[in-house]
Subunit: 305 residues, 3 copies
């Protein structure tokens, strides 16, 4: 049987004309998601050499291998940056011509990789030290979604800091999809960071985290939802978390002027909208939940037993 | 070394006979997950033309390109619908012969795409307006997992409404896996919807959401877990959320007769099992958590500092 | 334009020397993630025959098909186990030579598949009975992320119990990435298990769960975060959940000596750090949240309405 393709096409084209905001036609090329994913995977191999290769990497081949990989990544990264700049404009303070600007940004980014590695080593250390389930550092690097998430974040954060539009966000959302943790490329995170289990943890754009911060799954460092909306762009809307703070699962910390003082611990499922001083213990009111025998609460008999 | 393949095979075949409920043999073909995923990806390209293509789409080619894509999707969609009907039966009110029924359902679905796009434009608008971290609408469409999740939902919801079995659920679970948000194809959702961060948000089968609803990560619109189980199928088990309600992270709303009145705000981590009137502010009791200095609570010294 | 590849390479090689903890060079091959994923996918096909194949599997071909698949999986599984043993050592009580040890472990694992299937049939039953949104058992197996997560867990748990290092964790994290649920291979889980929606649920390494346990999304069975860190390895750090317990969304249960007594129900968003007796109903204090009209709380007018 045939389809009324002509009718369907006419109807859809009319819709394209009517609802133009969700088309992207005749414009400059957007960065390719598949391209950005391939680049990010190669960057992970450069950052953790030997971990994500199917063959053993020998020291003797390392120099040639690294040069080859850098050369391949550099050109492709420049291309995707170029597309991002073509759509959204060049950052301030550099060339206004997207091609040399993209070349310069890609080069500067690659120069930062040793610094990124320096931070990542502290994260691996924090993950290993902080999780008794970890048997070796190799297990942490190969198997923990956290390592992938933080490695992608630390690279995306460099690009974001250089003013590259869109591309860092595509990198971040790829890691989000794979790890369940959503770290905006703008978030500033100190050394020795660890998030156990990752899924559902959200770290907003203007969050500031000190060093030795430990989070669990489902923690939200988020903004108030304000009627002002887009008018707030650029203001600090997400919390500050000082050094050596631990935040348990599913706690939600809200607001740009909320500061969790150093050495504090926030219990699971807390909803906090104000600052707390250093060394605070923040728990649900009285740390109590009500425990009754089911027969004392006949109104709840419909609960599954 | 060789394996005792014969022994292993005999043991496994005996298990297939013993535990028949988890085999699918000699039956009609189930829909192919890989096939459904490919179709869904193509539908996303039809709905947001130019956004997910690696090459720029020019207006001049748009008509030919769209007709070609529709033709390709139509046949494959019909095939997967046909398999679903073959396994689970045709919906009421149409042909009882799965082949013409599948053809008819696929055609009717494709006719709905312009309406789906109309709703999706309002969602893109809500996401852009509601998130100061968004710099452009393009960023929202290309990078936000929410857009993928809601686009797949709005399409799966149309198929679900037409009575197509299984297939819409496979579409939804693909989006769930990629975005962390689980929207059952049966859920009814008004215009201008936005879920920030998405991960962990669950919207049950019989939920009704008005327009301009804003949710955060980890929000659950769920059913009571009742001993009745399957006996409840078809009843309204999930909440109603009226227009312009905002629900913060990790709040859980339970029950089919629970109504969140229009213009209400529900704070993070609230567990709510009853209705609230319009313009309510629903927060944890007294909005307080207990904050103490750690030295005042020696019983908790084993918490990491 | 050319890149300063030589400079970039020198800088990165210097970083590899300086931060050696995150390189893996000249060592034994680590198991391949891609290889482990392919094996796990094939094991799922062996466990649920006919469900994940694109073609109908006929009973007449089942024996040949199964033998072929077992043969293919056995060799590849042995190879990945061999690599794991080469990096991390052989388990106690078997051969100290990794090649025969790997052969023996792979064979013993495959012999367990019928028992794994026996448990999985009870899980499918629990999912179907427990979720009125499920129309058929086929829908549960094909579309529910829970089934994939628990099937991978039950297989990874067998390998973990045999003392195979790393490999079971790679299997688990693959399922974690796809389903959002993080079950450590060490966790012990009874029959008739069901987790609705899955995303964000975390079950730690030393958790013990009885039979007929039902969890929702975002539930955490986690350890205290103790300064002792790695010193705690091997101790019981995660909760015990007895038979027929239901735990609602986003509840967090903490600690190795915490026992949730049989037939208990834990409400959503509860944070519990102590044991409760059988048949307990555990809810947020007084089961209340504060509901006010927004105009009565002018301090909160900045909340979106």
């Amino acid at each position: 049987m045939n389809y009324p393709i002509k009718d369907l096409t006419v109807a859809l084209l009319a819709s394209y004309r009517r609802h133009g905001g969700i088309n992207h036609l005749d414009g400059a090329n957007l960065p390719s998601r598949a391209g950005v994913v391939a680049i990010t995977s190669d960057l992970l191999r450069l950052v953790f050499p030997g971990f994500f290769d199917d063959q053993v990497v020998h020291s003797s081949e390392l120099q040639a291998e690294t040069a080859l990989r850098l050369d391949s990544v550099a050109g492709r990264l420049e291309d995707e940056i170029y597309k991002s700049l073509g759509c959204f404009g060049c950052p301030e303070g550099g060339s206004r011509d997207p091609r040399p600007a993209a070349h310069d940004l890609a080069t500067r980014f690659l120069r930062q990789l040793p610094e990124v590695r320096e931070l990542l080593q502290t994260d691996v250390e924090a993950a290993f030290e902080g999780d008794p389930a970890a048997r070796t550092r190799e297990e942490v690097i190969v198997a923990y979604p956290f390592i992938e998430a933080i490695a992608v974040h630390r690279m995306a954060h460099v690009l974001h800091g250089q003013g590259v539009p869109l591309l860092p966000r595509i990198m971040s959302e790829w890691a989000h999809s794979r790890t369940g943790m959503d770290i905006h490329p703008g978030a500033t995170i100190g050394s020795h960071f660890f998030v156990d289990h990752c899924t559902g943890t959200v770290i907003g754009e203007t969050s500031h985290l000190g060093s030795h911060v430990k989070l669990y799954q489902g923690v939200g460092l988020v903004a108030r939802s304000l009627a002002a909306g887009q008018a707030l762009r650029g203001t600090k809307r997400h919390p500050t978390v000082e050094d050596r703070v631990t935040i348990y699962a599913n706690a939600t910390i809200v607001g740009g002027d909320t500061v969790i003082g150093a050495d504090s611990t926030v219990g699971a499922n807390v909803f906090l909208m104000h600052s707390v001083p250093p060394a605070s213990l923040v728990l649900m009111e009285d740390f109590r939940v009500r425990v009754t025998h089911k027969r004392e609460r006949p109104g709840t008999v419909d609960f599954q037993i």
